[in-house]
Amino acid sequence: MSRKNEPGMAYDMNKLNKIFAFLSVAFLVTVIWVFLDDYIRPWKAYQLEAMQIRRERLSQGIEQFDQNLDKEALDELNKKMEEARLIIAARQDDIEKEERELARLARDLKSQTLINGTLSAKVAEVSFHYGIATSKKKPTEQKLFEKLRDVKEKFAESADRMIALQNAEAEVRGRHKELNGELLEAERGLNELLMSRELMVLAKNKTNIDPIFALRNAPFVDFLDPTLTVDQIVLENISDDRYFVQVPKVDRCITCHTFIDQEGYDDLPNPHKSHPKLDLMVGVNSPHPMKSYGCTTCHGGEGHRVNDFTSIAHSPQNAEQKQEWIKKYNWHEPKYILEPMLPLQYSEASCVKCHQGVEYIPGATVLTEGRNLMEKYGCYGCHKIEGWEHKRKPGPSLERISSKITKDFFKSWVWDPKSFNRHAMMPAFFMQDNNSSEEYMEKNMAEVNAMADYIWEKSKDYKPFMAYRPGNAERGKQLIKDVGCMACHGVEGYETESRKISADSGPYLTGTGSKVDADWLVSWLKKPDHYDPSSIMPSFRLTDQEVQDMATYLMSLRNPTFERLKFEPMNPEARDDILLGYYTAFDPIEVAQAKLDKMSDREKNLDLGFRSVGKYGCYSCHNIDGFSDRAPIGPELTNVGSKPLTQFGFNFQSDVEKTRDGWIKAHLINPARWDRGTDARFQGITRMPNFSLTNREAELMTIALLGQVAYYVPPTGVRQLDAHEIIANEGMKLLNKYGCVNCHQVDGQHGKILANYEDDINEGPPRLVGQGHRQQADWFHYFLENVHPIRPWLKVRMPSYNFTNEERNTLAEGFQAMSKQQTFVDNLQVVKWEPGEREAAKALFDSYACASCHSAGYDKSIEPSAPNLALSKRRLRPTWIKKWLEDPQAIMPGTLMPSFWEGGESMDSTILGGDPVKQIDALTKYILESGNNNFEPGLKKN
């Protein structure tokens, strides 16, 4: 080996020792490094930062306090204090005497407590032995009984002495306090003035970085009692799925997001910022306080981790933020995490997790927008979504289509709906990314031709019952705006108004003249359910002339470019080719060809038509004869928000963000994109049509879809509806389905059409506030079937729907439940007057000139501008009338009904002593007494 050393030694010992020394030092350094590596955590830095911030705020607070302090008051109090001290000094002897007395009493009390305790224990012991002796009939029974008597007596005596001592002490204490009275009072005054300052100083002291702080948080010893700690919220009512077991959710987000639940930190950067919606979320007084709902319940992510920024599965909002995070936090895409955090803009998706089966989630504005869009475009038509089953089919019925439009129109429309009506909600199936090749277009056109043939073949005859007679288009146009068509339809000629209202329950009325049959149109306007009983289009009880005028205007709207379009006639080769494709799926080509050869042209057209309607799923949105038993065409979306990422087919679209929201958004904007680079065959291409959504629309719908999750939330965590809410929600479903909410604002929500009545909101459809309290249920039930004008001066009309009895009940019940009211009001009760009250009521009625607006039945010379009071008895609830009289503006801001008792001051103080309560009572009685006992004027009493 090496050079020779001492005998028996291979190495030089000195050298070995040096190596050992070096290694030992290196080892020590490594050990220290291990501890430091464990000690230095990113979250500690944030907590220190937070501490500094808190300290600064407190210093500012103290400074501010000192500035605002009332110096004079302080001086005054100090002076009082001095005086008090002087007064007390004079009584020093007395006070000392009392104090001595108190000390003596305290000693006695303590000694008595000891005696008392001993005796009490003794009593218990002897009772036990005596009980045993009695039950076992032991000879010691009698002796024990005497002993028990004895100790009990002693115990009673002791207790008496105790009470005496306590009373004595209270007495002395009272005297002592009295002697010190002035001083105590002065102290209290000072305390009151300086209390909040003292609290701030105490809090500030907690943020001192002193030796104790350093020691408590020093490495190696910080396991004992550190002040920098991982803070956490443990939620019993919400769980995390840890594969096979549900464990309470643990969120440690607050370790770094230090002030998230406190007000006043909005100006700080993250993570110290306050939550932006403390009144709704996180805040102690919000409906979702942090301690009960945590953070990741809504935001998603791995809330229990605090290792570093990425491990929590923070998700960036956009590419820009992603770059920033990569730079700042070394961020990377989280792996194997089923539920990474939702990008901030998608947070509202989580509301659906717990708020299930409700029409609207108040507060979730963005989510609601997204869900409204899903409803507008009818996603639920093709895709089953649990909880959306009650919604109507998104498209109109095609069961009698042949009498409404021409076949040519149908073909051109199906080919490209937006070319006829750029507001069309019908999506584009053709001329997409994946079917724009010449061969595919040729085949698609054959399919459209065949579908038209099939649908016309199946279409039932319908004879319009009215003939079109051109009327006054101008008047028709005015009527369309006046009666309220625009609540559901956008209308050409009213572009500004249409944009303001953005109605989407019905089609945008443009180019109608190029589209529909004129006779059909008049019949439809007059009586929609004559053509299609399943339609939600109601009747506006238009006169024949009104119908003709409206139709004249609508027929004058034409789309000449579209009219000139001529659809390619059926290409038999393309048709046979497609059919062969269908047949060869089950038969060899020879058999398929033979089958095809045997068919006539008509048979081929109809068969291809039938198959194409099935292929594109037209029946999912439209009623088409022959498809009633088919399931919707698209895959179910109930749980799409928790579908594993690996199950989303990104195919070769590498520019799509590899996240759920990335896929869904890309898919909504252009569903055909996934076929790029896949060489899909004609039958196999993606069939989801293109809705031409804007980026924003797609994003909103993505939020709504992301909310469709399958995560288990314990029943205690889910928002449970109470009995009223369930019924109210059923009503809301109908209000929504029939578009009632397009006209009526319900408790401050909805009422799109009111955008058109900004000048005078009272000209618009009545706003429904506490409607269940306002109206009587049986009247409403009657009204829905027999709509009649209540406010005849309004131009906008309440239309007549074809509600079933059940639906009317549901609506009446719904309103009732919203206002938590009983069904019936005792209408048979006879009004009982106090002496002189009736005369007073009459006088009030005149004095307040009620009949000047509610003139119906009182003064024929005045056009009424308020509802007929005679109807009130059966229409309104008496309690509501009182509430309404008290302060109409509180119920319906902007109403014309004046308040006669503003601020509790009666306008006429001469009647009933000017007492508002008595006056309101009297007037209510008067209205009830003078009211008709029927639902509608001119009807017999019921």
Binding site: A10, L23, T30, V34
Partner: protein, 358 residues
């Protein structure tokens, strides 16, 4: 160039290339086992390695925390293989010249104290190793991932690095053979070495010539059938255990057209144009005969060769047959690999009814 390397790296090509290099190494062992060759070899290999590391995909694989030990492994295996050959060949030269091996020189035969010469230096190694492991652990965090999710397995799902060779074997054999029999034989074989190899030459000193057969056999099993397979499993197997070239992006959508056919199907359907017999023994008869022949007839037949006869005479019956059996079992792996690559052969004996595929 990268495409070309990717192309070459496919086991179909890289395994024969590896074998050629292995053959060249033992054929020209005198050249290989020199310091000059080591220096030149290192210098020549550095630029290609640097070039390879410049590739994004390759670099990503190399620096994965799981793969670091394998990088060490490659470097140490190459060094120690060379080092032992170097020492052995040097002694071969001395022996041929009639001198004693270096280890037998008088100054190397002198005895020294266990303490401190051995124990103290062992302590150094312990401390140094601990420091190394601790620093490694701090720098490269343990590659632990999220809690295991049975419905979402990582892709590729790889065994620990030391088992990647076994996992690679599973591509070619059924688990009972590649996972039970073969590893069992490896362990048994390693235990059996001192009892089989009774050659007294080479005790206490490095040599090559004197133990040529033993060294070659071991190096083949160790380098070609274990280390090479680990390298393949580490660097060349990506998602779905599909082959990826070292410079290829691991696209989990990559598809490889592999459709494997059993020997019985080759024989009955393609060869004889007959349906498969319903009797499974009859169906698999060809494979069974071949397998039995391979494991039993081949060792007997080996006696007919001159080398075999000499070995038989030297070793005795039991030792000889144990050795031949181990060698045959070892050779079954490269043979099956070759058959799979050349003929897409799935199983020689396919008895799924008995879960006994071979």
């Amino acid at each position: 160039m990268r495409e070309f390397v990717n192309y070459l790296a496919d086991p179909i090509r890289s395994f024969p290339i590896f074998l050629v290099f292995f053959y060249l190494m033992i054929r020209y062992v005198k050249v290989v086992a020199t310091k000059k060759f080591a220096v030149i070899g290192t210098l020549i290999s550095l630029p290609p390695i640097a070039w390879a590391l410049a590739d994004k995909n390759f670099f990503k694989i190399v620096i994965r925390p799981d793969n670091l030990p394998i990088n060490f492994l490659i470097i140490t295996v190459v060094f120690f293989t060379w080092f032992s050959l170097y020492k052995g060949v040097r002694n071969d030269g001395r022996l041929a010249a009639g001198e004693v091996p270096i280890e037998a020189l008088p100054e190397n035969r002198e005895k020294v104290w266990t303490w401190p010469n051995l124990v103290y230096t062992e302590l150094f190694c312990m401390i140094a190793m601990t420091i190394f492991l601790v620093v490694w652990a701090i720098y490269f965090k343990a590659p632990l991932e999220e809690p295991a999710n049975p419905t979402w397995a990582p892709n590729p799902a790889k065994a620990p690095w030391y088992f990647l060779g076994l996992q690679e074997m599973l591509v070619y054999f059924d688990p009972w053979y590649a996972g039970v029999i073969l590893p069992g034989l490896i362990v048994a074989g390693l235990i059996a070495i001192p009892y089989i190899d009774t050659n007294p030459k080479g005790n206490g000193y490095f040599c090559y010539e004197d133990r040529k057969m033993a060294i070659n056999l071991f190096l083949f099993g160790w380098l070609a059938l274990w280390v090479y397979l680990i390298i393949v499993g580490t660097f060349l197997r990506g998602p779905n255990w599909t082959f990826y070239g070292p410079f290829e992006y691991w696209d989990y959508k990559k598809v490889v057209a592999e459709y494997n056919v059993n020997l019985s199907e080759f024989f009955w359907i393609i060869g004889l144009n007959q349906p498969l017999p319903s009797n499974m023994i009859l169906r698999e008869i060809v494979g069974i005969v071949i397998s039995l022949g391979y494991f039993f007839i081949l060792p007997l037949a080996s006696l007919k060769t001159k080398y075999g006869a000499k070995l038989f005479k030297d070793m005795g019956t039991i030792r000889y047959f144990i050795l031949i059996f181990l060698a045959v079992a070892m050779a079954s792996l490269p043979i099956k690999m070759a058959l799979r690559w050349l003929f897409s052969l799935k199983y020689i004996v396919a008895l799924p009814e008995l879960e006994l595929n071979f």
